[in-house]
């Protein structure tokens, strides 16, 4: 198990490297116009030395490889400035705040929201999928399958808007505006996160229902299930103790597919429900053209994604011992 974990971690390193290179190239090479020109234009100043200073300050001087090395923190080992490897993701152009500091508060919020949403998706899909499989080809099955496709098709943010709209019309309810952190006020925090997580989880939940159903159907046809029935075990024992455990293994893989989408997708819901997470940070940064923040956030999101994929793969290896020895 440790060997597998270490193997996967080592394999992640080239991917991480490639991602940082990709993000760097995207924002440095393909930028429209010159950042420094824009800043000088915005804040005035005609001192010729100013341009030089700004360029060095922002790390835009020198060769492309040199710039990348400075940003990634490779030059730190030779007495240069800190970079990504040391945890310095850059500073905002707008208010000078360190990105890493800002992320200390925002990243946990987004990640937690993503986890709650994934949990909601599982809670919605597993019982529904199991029931759909048990009543295969009868009316509940057809109804639930159509519902699953429907959930997967409608945009989640639309459901969020509808909930807020009709919640206010019918129940005079409005989503809470002041955000509470988990450490400050856990009860209020959970109350704020509950509804968004539920709505975010609906879309992947719809997709998961069909997978759970297929897996359940396959497992129920196995011989050991017939043996269990022949032994005279109760239906519920057969389903929950024997069938479900084996059916859920590939579902872990699909969680691996849906979790990245959830994490990337929280962007929209953070806007709607006014949650101070990484998504809003990115949208604000893009709107104000805050390049260091944009660059840093892209890398952080990609790393978050890689780690969640790793988590899922480890869980998969834990459940299915055959994987560890490939």
């Amino acid at each position: 198990m440790q060997r597998y974990l270490i193997q996967r971690l080592i394999l992640m390193i080239p991917s991480l490297f490639l991602i940082t290179v990709f993000t760097f190239l995207l924002l440095r090479v393909f930028l429209p116009g010159d950042v420094v020109d824009q800043i000088i234009g915005q804040y005035g100043g005609s001192d010729p030395g100013l341009r030089q200073e700004l360029e060095e300050d922002l790390g835009l001087s020198g060769s492309l490889v040199g710039q990348y090395a400075k940003w990634a923190g490779i030059t730190w080992f030779w007495g240069g400035e800190t970079g990504i490897l040391q945890g310095d993701i850059g500073r905002s152009l707008i208010n000078g705040r360190s990105v890493a500091d800002e992320l200390k508060r925002r990243l946990p919020v987004s990640f937690e929201l993503g986890l709650w949403a994934q949990l909601a998706a599982i809670v919605i899909s597993v019982p529904t999928g199991v029931w759909s499989a048990l009543k295969q080809d009868k009316w509940p099955d057809y109804g639930l399958r159509s519902l699953a496709i429907l959930l997967n098709s409608v945009p989640g943010f639309w459901i969020a808007i509808l909930v807020i709209t009709f919640g206010s019309i019918w129940f005079s309810w409005a989503p809470p505006v002041n955000f509470e952190y988990l450490t400050d006020d856990p009860i209020a925090h959970l109350k704020i996160m509950l509804l968004p997580a539920l709505i975010i989880g609906l879309t992947p939940g719809g997709g998961l229902i069909r997978l759970v159903r297929t897996q359940m159907l396959e497992v129920l046809r196995q011989d050991y299930i017939r043996t269990a029935h022949a032994k005279g075990l109760k239906e519920s024992t057969v389903v929950y103790k024997h069938a479900l455990r084996n059916a859920l293994i590939p579902v872990v893989t699909l969680i691996g597919v849906s979790l990245p989408n959830i994490i990337a997708g929280t962007v929209i819901f953070e806007q709607i429900f006014v949650i101070p997470g990484m998504g809003r940070y990115l949208v604000d940064a893009v709107n104000t053209r805050d390049y260091p923040v944009i660059q840093g956030l892209n890398v952080v999101f990609a790393m978050l994604l890689l780690f969640s994929i790793l988590l899922v793969d480890v869980a998969y290896a834990f459940l299915d011992p055959r994987i560890r020895f490939e």
Partner: protein, 332 residues
């Protein structure tokens, strides 16, 4: 063709003649068979075609091509024709400031928004955005994915390993985040969105196609083709591609639904087409959110449009998959 279908000796003539039906008639009869076997799928296919017509996919593409070649725009758009013919369809930017935020009336079948623009017309023109972006970007992304997948599976070795790493990076990229960054910084427009969406989602499609290519390449007829001297390109296009085609169609139908939702999300956040060009996601964000208390229709109708289109794409894709290749039959 079953031998038992032949009644007597003379019937052999009719049997051969039946086989050599022209392509169009064969297409029609397979369409009829599809409608009988999968009525829901056929219905959704019909809805997809309706959306394609309303969205002017063909006229817009042809007009763009001819415009690039400086031949001018010749093909008329259906939406414009409807606008001229029907009294309750208006140009999408026409404002009637005396009729703001109204409900359904005989003049405005679905009401108006805060600028007095007719909702139904904006839905109709918004179909063009949704359909153009989805078909255009899926065409690009499937082309990229199929090329990478087939080349990867066909050549194997270092080509495969190298492309695999490349695809891995793309799979680890957070899609929406990257799209927001690119479209937010470089500006957005119809064709920018098509190309960016196509390129960002392209390599992800190559996984399954690569798997299927590996399976096909192991077949004996590939070796036979090599023996008679077929070139690499010929083998890939005439031998591998037709066998991978059902999987490509399946991927395309899934991608279509995903892209429509992604485009709606981007427009919702403000990174889609700039106003006044209508897009369903943008209709939801600007009008829907602000005025949902007084005119909830503004928040409901665009969402229904999006959901209906994606639902039809999904069901149609499912039906196609079930019909084209039973081995691929998955969760449905």
């Amino acid at each position: 063709m079953a031998v038992s279908g032949i009644e007597d000796f003379a019937d052999v003539e009719g049997w051969l003649a039946r086989e050599e039906k022209p392509f169009l008639l064969r297409l029609l009869s397979s369409l009829k068979a599809f409608m009988r076997r999968k009525p829901l799928g056929a219905l959704c296919g019909f809805v997809v075609i309706l959306f394609m017509l309303a969205g002017d996919v063909v006229p817009a593409t042809i007009n763009k091509i001819t415009k690039e070649m400086t031949l001018g725009e010749h093909i008329p758009y259906l939406a414009d024709q409807l606008d001229r013919a029907l009294p309750f369809i208006y140009p999408y930017s026409r404002q009637d400031l005396r009729a703001r935020l109204e409900g359904s009336s005989s003049d405005h079948l679905l009401g108006t928004d805060s600028n007095g623009r007719d909702v139904l017309s904006r839905l109709l023109y918004g179909a063009r955005t949704a359909v153009m972006v989805s078909f255009g970007s899926v065409f690009i992304s499937i082309s990229i994915g199929a090329s990478i997948g087939i080349m990867s599976g066909f050549y194997g070795g270092w080509v495969d390993k190298g492309l695999y790493r490349f695809v891995d990076v793309f799979q680890a990229l957070p899609g929406l985040i990257l799209l927001i960054t690119i479209l937010g910084l470089f500006g957005s427009g119809l064709w920018q969105m098509i190309f960016v969406l196509g390129f960002v989602f392209g390599p992800n499609n190559s996984r399954l196609i690569r798997g299927q290519t590996l399976y096909v390449v192991a077949s004996p007829f590939m070796e036979a083709a090599r023996v008679i001297g077929a070139s690499d390109l010929r083998m890939m296009t005439r031998y591998v591609l037709p066998n991978v085609f059902p999987l490509i169609v399946l991927q395309a139908s899934v991608s279509l639904g995903v892209v429509v939702l992604v485009e709606a999300s981007l427009s919702f956040l403000g990174f889609g087409l700039p106003p006044p060009y209508p897009s369903w996601g943008q209709m939801l964000s600007l009008e829907g959110r602000q005025y949902m208390a007084s005119q909830p229709g503004l928040a409901i109708y665009p969402g229904i449009a999006i959901g209906l289109l994606v639902f039809s794409f999904n069901l149609f894709g499912d039906a196609l998959r079930d019909v084209l290749d039973p081995r691929l039959r998955g969760s449905s």
